[in-house]
């Protein structure tokens, strides 16, 4: 699997992501500059976590309009897998690749801690490394992770099996229906708030996040 990680001004988990991808695939990803207009030929595009453009205006809003995003959208439309984590998820919603929005956490504070997630389906390129219904423990670290969409959108997401992950045993940010991550219609674009990349090595206190990357590597190699 060949992967590219897009670097925006203010991205700060690109290194965590690159390390996790290398752990799963043995190969470091390409790092792509936000101002570029073309992507290398890859199987997976990752928008990493951080505070692109300082979260100014709205988290993800400015990055969604960066020059590279036109190529990301085109690649996604061709079926290339796209993963957005945390700020990457926010950028995907702002770019229109995923429905809904990420509001500030209901409690109004930044939250960094491990949470339990239920993997809703194992039948996607992202989650082949897990069993459906499996609970995994991975960290969150965000201020704006409170997913919201209107009833019609939610009904469609649920009906089409596009809720990827749900918080279990406590919702850390007030997100509607405990949603932690969602897919696009073709389940080739995934956005999620938690950070599986920071749970890929025993030194990080757990390896529950590694399955996402090994699953991707298996599905896309």
């Amino acid at each position: 699997m060949k992967a590219a990680v897009v670097l925006f001004p203010g991205s700060n988990r690109e290194r965590d992501m690159a390390v996790a991808l290398e752990r799963a695939t043995g190969e470091p990803p390409a790092i792509v500059w936000h101002g570029d207009t073309t992507l290398p030929k890859v199987d997976l595009i990752v928008l990493p976590g951080g505070f692109s453009y300082g979260d100014y205006l709205r988290s993800g809003a400015i990055a969604a309009r960066a020059p590279i995003m036109r190529s990301v959208v085109e690649a996604a439309e061709r079926g290339v897998a796209v993963l957005g984590v945390c700020n990457g998820f926010q950028i995907l919603t702002e770019a229109g690749l995923l429905p809904g929005v990420l509001l500030p956490n209901a409690h109004g504070k930044f939250a960094c801690k491990n949470v339990a997630l239920r993997v809703e389906t194992s039948q996607t390129v992202f989650t082949g490394g897990y069993e459906a219904g499996q609970t995994i423990s991975v960290p969150i670290a965000h201020h704006d992770g409170n997913y919201f969409a209107d009833d019609e959108t939610l009904a469609r997401l649920e009906g089409e099996g596009r809720v990827a992950f749900r918080y279990v045993g406590g919702n850390p940010n007030g997100s509607i229906r405990d949603i932690a991550g969602i897919y696009n219609e073709t389940k080739t674009v995934l956005g999620l708030m938690p950070h599986p990349e920071d749970a890929t090595d025993p030194s990080q206190g757990g390896t529950d996040g590694l399955g996402l990357f090994t699953g991707l590597a298996n599905a896309l190699s």
Partner: protein, 734 residues
Amino acid sequence: MHITPKIVAEHGLKPDEYQRILRHLGREPNLVELGIFSVMWSEHCSYKSSRRHLRKLPTKAPWVIKGPGENAGVIDIGDGMAAIFKMESHNHPSFIEPYQGAATGVGGILRDVFTMGARPIANLNALRFGAPDHPKTRHLVSGVVAGIGGYGNCVGVPTVAGECSFHPAYNGNILVNAMTVGIAKADRIFYAAAAGIGNPVVYVGSKTGRDGIHGATMASAEFDDNSEDKRPTVQVGDPFTEKLLIEACLEIMAEDAVVAIQDMGAAGLTSSSCEMASKGGVGIELDLDRVPCRETGMTAYEIMLSESQERMLMVLRQGREHVADRIFKKWGLDVAVIGRITDSGRVVIKKDGRVEADLPVGPLADDAPQYDRPYVPTPPRKRLSPVDVPGRPIKDALLRLLGSPDIASKRWIWEQYDHLVRGDTVQRPGGDAAVVRIEGAKKALALTADCTPRYCEADPFAGSVQAVAEAYRNLSAVGARPLAITDCLNFGNPERPEIMGQFVGCVEGMALACAALSFPVVSGNVSLYNETNGQGVQPTPQVGAVGLVEDWTKTATIGFKTTGDVLYLVGETKGALGASLYLREILGREDGAPPDYDLAAEKRHGEFVRALIADGRISSCHDVSDGGLLVALAEMALAGGLGATIDPVWENATTFLPAHAFLFGEDQARYVLAVPAPFAAAAEAAAKARTGVPLKRIGTVGGRALTLGSLGAISLDDMRARHEGWLPDLMEKG
């Protein structure tokens, strides 16, 4: 404009200090020059009250690459790598405007570290607030914590450790001390000394605005009832720009272009340019028309004294300006050549073709007045005998202590900090020390921040020894070899002899402990005038410490892990209850001398514990500090979700101790170890093989409670409710 005594006073300069300026110049300064002198000679920048005492601190060891005097201290951590770190106060601005004050404190200390070529890998902080029920406390706690998080989270540096306590002495002056730790190649460290006559002086980062003018002067005077009027002197931080600045600076440092670099912190362009020139023994000429400004019509005075954030000054090799241009523009940052290095030994400031200031570098940077302020030592307090302190029911006392402000869990704070970004956090907040891996290697740094102000108030010398010793213990308890410390010395008004006496006592205590433990001070900061209407803070010589872990898989954590593990207490217990939390929280008394220190024992016990951890023979380890043995055991039980049965060892102690003295005494140089039963005999033999390492078997891990024989059992659930409940209740209820 004629300089009147009123203008001199408004600049925080004393009449005799002004006379000193006149002598140096041989003429009257203009307003710009007076402003430059006032910030360079402020307490904050010149250390004029503290310098003669700071010289007493040990600053050398074979592993110290650079001690105090640069932006941060540098130590060798092997494999060609260096750790670079410093702690700094942002007390005055954080009281006036807690979010921005704390945020810019983090920004400033980050710059001190990446200025030297280091990639910041961890932040820590130490916070002191007033009484929990003081009307301002909640506002200050929530603002400071949000500010630290808002800045650190955005720049992508994990905030991994810290401490937080409360006392009415901080009602009018909170303390916000922030520390950054970075790593660099040991042969790629950058310093501030300017060199190379004719080399360009390059300004990078944010534009200069009118914010923060006279921040350094504000931090050099005590507060009164009108301190809130000083809000306009607090700067506004932009962590997004800082993040870009980190990346751009590290990128240009990888090229052969930078001669010297200095961040613009307190006193902004003034101190950065003067210090670079002074350290290099050269002159500097600046053309302020080229400084990128946020607003039009800024005067030379405003540009020189602005404390706008996220700015750096560099001296580049001639002809390498285009490298800076390329890199900083790529990151969307301002870059401008604003001057050059000269051989004149003078700082010359030009604007609109006029010379606005022309001052000799030497007097500004090195000939600030030095004061040998009179001081009176703090009178010693009575030592309390354990039997002088009444006992209260143990179970109730433990629960009250666990829910008391200084012991209660600070989870509400550290969950607002991203403590995981960069993916190298091995031990998270909540233990004795954080452990952060060095870029995926086996090697890791252990980090802690420690001070017990109530001990320092009782006895500045002994309290300061204890602060260093506790840092040494916290590093040892995770299995790290203690290497060096940074300090942040927070005191009241040094013009009062009793405050100066506290300062001198603390510096001398720190000097003794650092020397005895081979734990040198490599960087630091002094914050005086933490005082409002004559009421000073408790003396707070904050220690931030760094230790080295050779292999992160051989570290210890505090949580109990396995039923049947044998519990040991390392060190002697005499029941020291003077100035203890038991005395304060249970009996409402703050009297008595603090616990005795024994630095030789600290060293022996620390070495013993580290050797056991390195051998992989223990399950968990925790130092014994606030609240004594029983609180330490409770913290281990809560962290592991597993209880313990404690033997009534106090009943057969060689000298009689009441249970409450044994269980809540804060005797120093102690640790609790949980050892797998098969290794118990080996651990006992290892202690016997060393002389002077008392090891007492005190119980066994297991169950859902701390069971204390005839004293009863205290359930994990009850303990957790108190320990985790206090801070959220304070902040979010009522």
